[in-house]
Subunit: 516 residues, 2 copies
């Protein structure tokens, strides 16, 4: 038994049985240890951004951690952007990063770099295993850290000799520390506050789906408070049967308008709302100046307990929240493709329990309203605003929930990031339908340049916004990665392609050429 | 005039006129400023790893800095791995990273993150512009830092308000500080040492090509020293007319053997040799135990001056180094493809002045010997061992040297990293021939598992080494990115496809299915 074997056994002992991997030379003993354990599911990603995004999607749906296997500092760098998204979503991940043997580190070998530094810039917890004997304890501590505070990024750096030197046994991960809870007096104050005119309850984290969201809905119904959710969230339950909630829009003016009637905002499981970006002369904070922002339960505190306590304090146990009705649109018949029609088709066909990975950016503004009354589903968003999330995230969600259909709605600019995840979808035969809306550019940048006051632009700006020379052939790119594909011509073509993919196992990609 | 305009004007004033970009919302004022300056060449990369790799390839050939434009922490993370390669190659790059307006940073917006931290893990120099008035000074300082010490990674973080607030004028970059030089006594000692039996001169940096390499060759000829170059280097002149040199091989045993007759190793422009990776029971240092390692001129010191001083001290001015003769192989006629034949075809057809971006990893071991007597060319390597360099690096090299043919030799595992660079090749009509050797897996990992003592492996290891299920269709992937492609069947097909691409402007990709 060596350090690497004790680490893999520690993972399995603590129910970490999925590893999204892109190993390199420094992780060979860990690979050999994984190889010895058939209970461990190893999923190869052809780029580390695919591994970290998949571990994030896995956590969001499974509510438990997977491991990633990354190759020194550059591998961690490649994983960085989706670790950023995971951090903002509150996902727990255990990263295993191989490093050179400790005695090799004094020399300037090509791959030597500052792994601790790059990890520290996004991980909540970073530890370097000092020797083989401590690897199991360190691995168990990493699992505990990843499960603490509702999910954290925990990174274990594994010098090669700590993997190959002899070690003894696996270790049970200590239970993460108990979550902090609000004081009773703050619960009571919130209960009173929520009954006032214009009071709003804004929820995040585990209060955004399932029983958490239902409980938040009952509290809102019992108190008359407005139920609010943020713009970009890791996961939110939507569609028929979910409590009516006000999702804050992206654009500054619309966000300000959506909060204009709010006098107080009680926060559970979320930070205060803020605009995505600052613009000259526009506010960072969207609420009215005299609105009270009242943090009750921070994202890393005990959200379920808080909801329960607040439900009791407000007598909400039997309240009947106003629920979204099932309102399926008719399938559009004939004609050109536009985004509203795409939303209608998606709403009409999307099966119950679908997982929608939404990275449509600007295009999503047009389809989200159509999905409000669709069959109940979970929507996963680009929580950290770093594009390149949805394809890897869908891989992780599909592995976490093999009985549910995963649908990716993504713009072409975003889909080019971490496009390698398509291959993993095919390799693992995942039930994922990818809809790429090709607007042939970064539409959001075209919009944002106008937002900052530039009405007309020239060749250099166009060179950085337009992805139309040459045209990307999405159907061809998908096939190149082993994923069947269709280019939808006309809305009927889209309806047919979507229906076909939803009816068949495995992945498919549908390219839709459509301006925003 | 705002801060962003003064920064772009500062770039142009200091001859930084190329920007590899993937902007986001936080960089809109900088984009507007770039748009106002038609002298600035903006090259769009569909992933930030493409931007950093291109800036590195540009520096290696131009020996001057380009800028990158990156989007907050996640954008920097995406650029990280190729910045690592650039750092190891000694390339100078100015990264401009947009951040939120400073007054927006107290709030937990989605994209808020530790840009300073992730930059500090790979940059030599990181500064955050405090206000618009100082942006030009900070930009000039970044340019100086990037040009200092033979090339450094300099990162300027640009909060959005420092870009949009009023500012006055561009600034001339101060000259970088003078490079350190060895003491005269050390030059004299080296001159004496190099005449001893088994003495070797190992060179790096600017001593690896052109006049620097020629001078190193004359010193070796005058003293009888063995001329040594390292395994993975940023750039090395090869082919006919270059001084005969001993390139250290990758594998530990071969590296040890290649140094077994060396009694002293004088270093100019390079670190001491070290194995790529540590293996159980194998040495980190390849030289004989009693060999003297004598650093004379570190990579960040004055290499040209040192070579000149040493040439004088050794009376090498008129020495005639043993040069590589032009020895072009016959074109192989017919039969199946193998790597040796690919090397022969490449050697026979590669034009003088070609720039070979070599990321063949294991496959390159087989073709490099064939290229020894080819027409004179530069070879650029994956200096930091982080795969995903060659496609972006080729973009930068082609933009730096529009009159030279760039050839990429890359394995399929590596080419999937930063594959998006293909699109930029097509968009910019760059004269790049990409040869993808598809061994359908990470051959180096198959080898390395054996190196660490595992003879047979099972499903989990295979799942992480093999990229054959599904098969990647490289010809299709290239076309999807807008690059013409061929799948070579038989060696004659390869010869024809290579000849055709070398004769035509613009990029092409040739897929070769071939085991190592």
């Amino acid at each position: 038994m060596n350090g690497a074997h004790t680490l893999v056994e520690t993972f399995l002992k603590n129910n970490v049985d999925t590893c999204f991997a892109n190993p390199g030379t420094s992780e060979m003993h860990f690979v050999a240890a994984l190889d010895a354990q058939t209970d461990m599911r190893c999923v190869l990603c052809l780029f580390e951004g695919g591994a970290s995004g998949a571990a994030d999607g896995y956590y969001r749906m499974k509510q438990d951690v997977a491991a990633t296997l990354l190759h020194l500092g550059p591998g961690f760098g490649n994983a960085f952007a989706n670790l950023h998204n995971a951090r903002k979503a509150g996902s727990g991940i255990v990263n295993v990063v191989g490093d050179h043997a400790s005695y090799h580190l004094p020399y300037e070998s090509p791959l030597k770099g500052d792994i601790d530094g790059v990890s520290g810039a996004v991980s909540h917890w970073t530890r370097r295993a000092p020797d083989a004997g401590s690897v199991a304890v360190d691995g168990a501590a990493a699992i505990s850290a990843a499960r603490a505070n509702n999910g954290q990024i925990a990174t274990l750096i594994l010098p090669a000799n700590t993997a190959w030197d002899p070690a003894s046994a696996s270790v049970a991960a200590p239970a993460p520390p108990a979550l902090h809870r609000p004081r009773d007096a703050d619960i009571d104050a919130a209960a009173a506050r929520l009954r006032a005119p214009g009071a709003a309850l804004m929820v995040g984290g585990a209060a955004l789906w399932g029983e958490g969201l239902a409980r938040a809905g009952r509290i809102a119904a019992a108190t008359g408070a407005i139920l609010v959710t943020d713009t970009l969230v890791g996961r939110v339950g939507r569609g028929a049967g979910t409590p009516m909630a006000r999702m804050l829009p992206y654009a500054v003016e619309a966000k300000v308008a959506a909060m204009s009637d709010i006098t107080s905002l009680t926060l559970i499981g979320t930070e205060r709302p803020v605009t995505f970006f600052a613009y000259p002369g526009k506010p960072s904070l969207p609420e009215p100046r005299d609105a009270a922002i009242m943090p009750l339960c921070a994202p890393d505190m005990d959200i379920a307990w808080t909801l329960d306590a607040l439900a009791q304090a407000t007598g909400a146990a039997k309240a009947a929240p106003k629920q979204q009705a099932l309102t399926l649109p008719d399938l559009p018949q004939g004609g050109a493709i536009d985004l509203t029609k795409i939303g209608d088709v998606l709403a009409a066909l999307m099966p119950e329990g679908a997982i929608l990975c939404n990275e449509g950016v600007t295009a999503a503004f047009h389809i989200m309203p159509q999905l409000t009354g669709a069959r109940p589903h979970d929507m996963l968003g680009v929580s950290g605003g770093a594009i390149g999330w949805s394809l890897p995230g869908a891989v992780g969600a599909a592995i976490a929930c093999p009985d549910r259909r995963v649908i990716v709605f993504v713009g072409d600019g975003s889909a080019m990031y971490n496009i390698q995840a398509l291959w993993t979808m095919a390799r693992e035969s995942l039930d994922i339908t990818v809809i790429v809306v090709a607007n042939r550019g970064y539409q959001i940048l075209r919009d944002e340049l106008v937002n900052v006051g530039v009405e007309r632009y020239g060749a250099n700006a166009q060179a950085m916004f337009d992805v139309d020379n040459p045209l990307l052939d999405w159907a061809g790119l998908a096939r190149g990665h082993g994923v069947p594909s269709h280019r939808a011509e006309g809305i009927d073509g889209f309806t047919k392609a979507l229906g076909q993919s939803l009816a068949e196992p495995g992945p498919a990609l549908i390219e839709v050429v459509c301006p925003d």
